[in-house]
């Protein structure tokens, strides 16, 4: 009797996983089909023939894909670096320095992040045009950093809140100033928080569409999602190219997640207190 609710739970988890992963699985399967297989009726589930043709041809026919992925990577890394740096400092100040109105400021930051990005586009475009930031990495990095900074402040502030205050107080009594405490105590201890936040921000930036579409108009500067979305031609919808390109664009994110996953789970604060 005791195992039946467990079984139900696992069934629900499995169902959720299958449903949410189905598009990705389908995408991967499609990337190994030939054109006939994609349009075959009745539906062809397993690719037949199983072909790597699409992966070979995409590098011959649309070599700019690698450029798109590189662009996405540069923007993602830049945005993540700025977001973590500014977000970390802001979150520490707001959560630990007993500032007046810290709560109000936190809510303010949250409120600002509620504007739909599209509503920012016209003014952002005009200003970037004036400053010569269109079609530059700096431009899109700044735009993304601005977009995701509120999220990172909230994430990091809530992570700092889990660190025992006493460690900082002990450091104070040992003779450290707050800059030193931040650099030598808080940063090493909140490493998992920074990795988790950074990873999410990186993925956000990697997937971001409207700003990347409008602020990067030259083909050589496009990011992966924008570039891939522009593949469909006037008469043809090249599903095999799109699915293959999308699979390739997911891979860097997967690799990065795999590398840092251990750090997130790590939990460095073990042993600080009880």
């Amino acid at each position: 009797m005791k195992s039946s609710p467990r079984f139900g739970l696992y069934f629900l988890v499995l169902l959720t996983v299958v449903i949410s992963f189905f598009p990705i699985i389908w995408l991967i399967l499609t990337s190994f089909k030939n054109t006939a297989g994609i349009y075959a009726w009745p539906i062809q589930y397993w690719p037949d023939p199983f072909t790597f043709e699409n992966y070979i041809s995409i590098f011959n026919n649309s070599p700019e894909l690698l450029r798109y992925i590189l662009n996405s990577f540069i923007v993602g890394v830049g945005c993540t670096a700025i977001t973590l740096m500014c977000g970390g400092i802001a979150a520490y100040a707001l959560s630990r320095l007993r500032l007046r109105f810290a709560g109000v400021m936190m809510v303010g930051i949250l409120a600002v992040s509620m504007f739909p990005p599209v509503s920012l586009l016209p003014s952002l475009f005009q200003n970037f045009l004036n400053f010569g930031l269109l079609n530059t990495y700096t431009g899109l990095i700044l735009a993304h950093a601005g977009l995701f900074l509120p999220f990172s402040v909230w994430m990091l502030a809530s992570y700092f809140a889990t660190l025992p205050v006493e460690i900082e107080e002990a450091a104070k009594m040992d003779g450290m100033g707050f800059v030193r405490i931040f650099l030598t105590i808080i940063l090493p201890l909140s490493w998992p928080g920074f990795v988790a936040t950074g990873l999410i921000v990186f993925i956000f930036s990697w997937n971001e569409f409207p700003l990347a579409l409008v602020l990067m108009t030259q083909n050589a500067m496009r990011t992966a999602p924008v570039g891939i979305s522009l593949y469909p031609g006037e008469y043809a919808f090249p599903w095999e190219t799109i699915s293959t390109a999308t699979v390739l664009a997911i891979i860097p994110v997967l690799i990065i997640t795999a590398i840092f996953q251990k750090q997130i789970v790590g939990g460095l604060t073990a042993g600080a207190g009880k």
């Binding site: 025992p164 450091a171 040992d174 003779g175 009880k274």
Partner: protein, 365 residues
């Protein structure tokens, strides 16, 4: 080594007062315990002495020098925290050496001092380990070591044993006693555990709602509690309190027919009084020889064997009393017994103010 003086110290957060009008002179080398329930202001007081909390009113001096505005690191104090507060990413050695490194003390001397202290605390085998690889007791020893290494003028302890299990707590308590005997540095120790207070303290300060209820030696606060609060807080199980009304022939316990004679030395002008007697000062009498007004009949409602002692829940003419008797031979639940309250051990408190009616001169208030 230094004395610590609190002169009219107070702390408020906006309109809320956490501590008020705290006067205390802690002597050089003294072991002083701040005792009270949570929220009584004991930790706040300690944190004000440490410099982690600003002082709203009054003056704090350590070694005769005003310290109100001084940085924590320059006060000559070292603190041991309840949850140890070790740097989890640093080795035991680095945890202990941190303050010295920040003071730019030469490496060789740091090493010597840390090694001396780890000798003293038996931490030699663990110097390279991270705190996560230590047991609770070892972690607390590192935290104490980190404080000793700095050779402070004053030690501050904020409930240092609360996170340890009962057995380890007793062991560490004894170690702390020994340590204090050996290095003799002025120590201020915050706890809500009266056993720690009674065993460690030269003097105990009992705080109640941000105010000092009594300052005295462990013996004093147990034998001559200055207020009803102190009487109820010190001693386990707690003192029995019996509200009574004064009459010609003695005190009539409220809600009962029991009339007790006036115990000697307890005088009050007011009509009402709260009588107090500790469970250990009530005995079960088997033979009633001479007529004695302090012997009364009682029914045992519940008996609890603790081991060496037993607790008797007694019902006496409409009110309840708790008695602590020897655990070897005691009446069981349901039996009718005679009990005797020791008149010399009866306390009286003014129901309005909670202050003790004087029996003996009380050392300080």
């Amino acid at each position: 080594m230094a004395n610590v003086t609190l002169n009219q110290i107070g702390k408020s957060y906006g309109k809320d007062t956490a501590v008020e009008n705290f006067n205390l002179e802690i002597e050089d080398g003294e072991f002083l315990v701040l005792l009270g329930p949570s929220g009584c202001g004991k930790s706040t007081t300690l944190r004000m002495i440490a410099g982690l909390e600003s002082i709203t009113t009054g003056e704090l001096s350590i070694g005769g020098i005003r310290m109100n505005e001084t940085d924590p690191k320059d006060r000559g104090v070292a603190m041991v925290f309840q949850n140890y507060a070790l740097y989890p990413h640093k080795s035991v050695f680095d945890n202990m050496a941190m303050a010295l490194k920040l003071q730019k003390i030469p490496k060789a001397e740091i090493e010597k001092r840390v090694n001396d202290v780890s000798d003293l605390l038996g931490l030699n085998d663990y110097l390279e380990r991270k705190p996560a690889a230590l047991s609770g007791g070892q972690r607390q020893r590192v935290a104490i070591g980190r404080a000793i290494v700095r050779t402070p003028e004053v030690f501050l302890f904020d409930e240092p044993l609360s996170n340890l299990d009962a057995k380890l707590r007793v062991k560490m308590r004894m170690e702390l006693q020994e340590l204090h005997k050996r290095i003799g540095v002025t120590s201020i120790y915050v706890t809500h555990d009266q056993v720690e207070a009674m065993t460690l303290a030269d003097r105990i300060v009992i705080l109640d709602g941000g105010k000092v209820a009594q300052i005295g030696s462990p013996r004093d606060v147990y034998d001559y509690p200055a207020t009803e609060f102190v009487a109820g807080f010190i001693g386990s199980p707690a003192m029995n309190f019996l509200p009574a009304v004064q009459s010609e022939s003695g005190w009539r316990i409220t809600g009962s027919d029991l009339l007790l004679p006036h115990p000697e030395g307890l005088a009050t002008k007011s009509e009402t009084v709260t009588l107090g007697i500790r469970p250990e000062h009530i005995e079960v009498i088997t033979v009633v020889a001479d007529p004695d007004a302090w012997v009364i009949e009682a029914t045992v409602k519940l008996d609890e064997l603790l081991g060496a002692d037993a607790l008797l829940n007694l019902s006496v003419q409409g009110f309840d009393l708790l008695a602590r008797v020897s655990g070897t031979d005691f009446p069981e639940a349901g039996s009718k017994v005679h009990i005797r309250m020791d008149p010399a051990r009866i306390h009286g408190f003014d129901p309005a103010t909670g202050l003790a009616l004087s029996r003996e001169p009380i050392s300080e208030r």
